[in-house]
């Protein structure tokens, strides 16, 4: 596709359920980022993938959060046993050379935990 695609656009889930969020980066982009943005706040770094290197997971807030990426393609962010505090917009971005070049963002997934 022409840009970064995220799905679903919106997700409402019950507390305690697991959710999986998907990100399709721009073809050829080796770097992929996940961020969390709570209402009215800035972007909180979660995880970074660069090609086949080990991901930088330093921003994952707890072991309920995990993410995978196969090669330079699709990435999934999984949140297990969701809590109300997980409610936020989850943004994905990709770039050609990590943070050396501009990042292109998807429209995000708005997660609401009820």
């Amino acid at each position: 596709g022409a840009g970064v695609s995220q799905s679903p656009s919106n997700k409402v889930t019950e507390k305690g359920k697991d959710v999986e969020l998907r990100c399709d980066p721009i073809s050829g982009h080796t770097a992929l980022y996940w961020y969390r943005q709570r209402l009215g706040q800035g972007l909180e770094f979660l995880i970074y993938f660069q090609g086949n290197s080990a991901p930088d997971k330093s921003g994952l807030p707890s072991d309920r959060f995990s993410a995978e990426r196969t090669g330079e393609s699709v990435s999934t962010l999984t949140i297990q046993r969701t809590q109300q505090e997980d409610s936020a917009v989850y943004l994905c971005a990709s770039s050609t050379q990590g943070a050396v070049t501009e990042a292109f963002f998807g429209q995000g997934t708005r997660l609401t935990v009820v």
């Binding site: 961020y35 706040q41 050396v100």
Partner: protein, 112 residues
């Protein structure tokens, strides 16, 4: 935290005026980037300034970088109502300069 800190948190100006937003950061960086966000969803890249650059222009945007003070400023000249958005600075740091970390942002409102 490695995040940049923007100020002011919010800025309200009249159409035609200039808007200045500032960003400070804590550690050595590879580059600093500015992004705009409308309606709380995807961000759009505005401009990237490398650590060895001091000033950069793009249309009505002017960005400066002072690495000695660990700060940057974004100036939007002749603002328009369409410039109303949140503006974020992002710093690239780390061993390979690949970790892109964002500040809390400045909310700009341009009144027509």
């Amino acid at each position: 935290s490695q995040q940049g800190e923007e100020d002011p948190q919010a800025l309200s100006i009249q159409e035609g005026e200039n808007a200045t937003m500032n960003c400070s950061y804590k550690t050595s960086i590879n580059n600093l980037q500015w992004y705009r966000q409308n309606s709380g969803r995807g961000l759009v890249h505005l401009i990237l300034i490398r650590s060895n650059e001091r000033e950069k222009h793009s249309g009505r945007l002017r960005v400066t970088l002072d690495t000695s003070k660990k700060s940057s400023s974004l100036l939007i000249t002749a603002s328009r109502a369409a410039d109303t958005a949140s503006y974020f600075c992002a710093t690239a740091y780390g061993e390979y300069g690949n970790k892109l970390v964002f500040g809390a942002g400045t909310i700009l409102r341009v009144k027509s």
